[in-house]
Symmetry: C2
Subunit: 170 residues, 2 copies
DNA sequence: ATCTTTTAATTAAACATTTTAAGGGGCCGC
DNA sequence: GCGGCCCCTTAAAATGTTTAATTAAAAGAT
């Protein structure tokens, strides 16, 4: 626990214990970058008839078609009703379709339609263009490191965010 | 897209077009990380009576008190009406107060109340705890690089996102 | 075999956030 | 002064999200 100098503005001293200030800067920077990214990406995706948030569903299904609604919700970090809503909207748009599972009738599996499959490329291009713009003068190594760190952050935070049913002892 | 290459080890094949795959991974990773961050941060802030999105206002004012509503909106990347709403809510909560500018009556300047000033520390602690959790096994250098890259991404994207009134010719 | 519990998806209701469009004044150039 | 512009605000609406309750089916127990 280091010293904290919260009164007023951050000192511009360049010391090693500067890390705390750097840390505090992370969440705003991440929030801002994500907001800007979403803004630009939404605009790029709009031409395909897609809204932000739908691209993740299509990309997930492109990876493994036939996921259940619950699995999609968990993977994308939203609650089940949100995913139901999203899937319903996308089904109405013709990007995907629901089919009951043959073995377990409780499950609803989601499959890409041809239109949905076509949109994969559009999404990847939009995301790629957006990412390229975002990382204009970055080196490949920087980008790789960035993605790696972001995924690590997500993993760290999700470990805390999840309710984590730990059977204390039995 | 036929090939599913989700194993995350995209660096196996070293081709030129490989960068696209790495790039495509950035926006989902950024989105997910930001979502997880917001979830955890909201939970930490909730105890202070603050909702997500309000912390940025308070931190901005802590840096330079008396910002105008428009300046806050621009700094935080939201539209003016959003900021009006946010400020109104926070004023009702007692975190800040509006005062008309003495020189320019059009401007509304926003100042922290003592309660708002007190919450600065709570916010910084919450953000710090969240950031620390997110970057558990990161080195200082990694964190610094991460913040630097995130800010660069934001700058790159905002340059594009802004309407940028260039009167080339009509 | 039947009853109870658990799991999955949905629906319903509510709420937060944000945006566009429009309104109300104050400032400044002419 | 007058017109245009800028800043904040209000109003209406879209989007996204959550919790709670409902329906249906599988799994397990008696």
């Amino acid at each position: 626990m280091g010293k904290k100098r919260k009164d007023g503005k951050k000192s511009k001293s360049k010391k090693k214990d500067q890390t705390e200030y750097t840390l505090v800067d992370l969440s705003p920077a991440l929030t801002q970058a994500a907001r800007s990214m979403r803004t630009v990406l939404s605009r790029n995706l709009f031409e395909s008839g897609l809204y932000a948030g739908q691209d993740g569903v299509i990309l997930s299904l492109a990876e493994s078609d036939g996921m259940t609604a619950g699995a999609l919700a968990q993977k994308l970090g939203v609650k089940a009703p949100t995913m139901t809503r999203t899937i319903g909207r996308m089904e109405a748009q013709g990007f995907l379709e629901r089919k009951p599972d043959a073995e377990d009738a409780r499950l609803t599996k989601v499959y890409l339609t041809p239109l949905g499959r076509d949109s994969v490329q559009a999404i990847e291009m939009a995301a790629s263009a957006c990412d390229r713009l975002a990382t204009l003068e970055f080196s490949d190594k920087e980008i790789r490191n960035l993605v790696r760190l972001l995924k690590a952050i997500d993993a760290n935070l999700q470990a805390e965010a999840l309710p984590l049913e730990e059977p204390d002892e039995e």
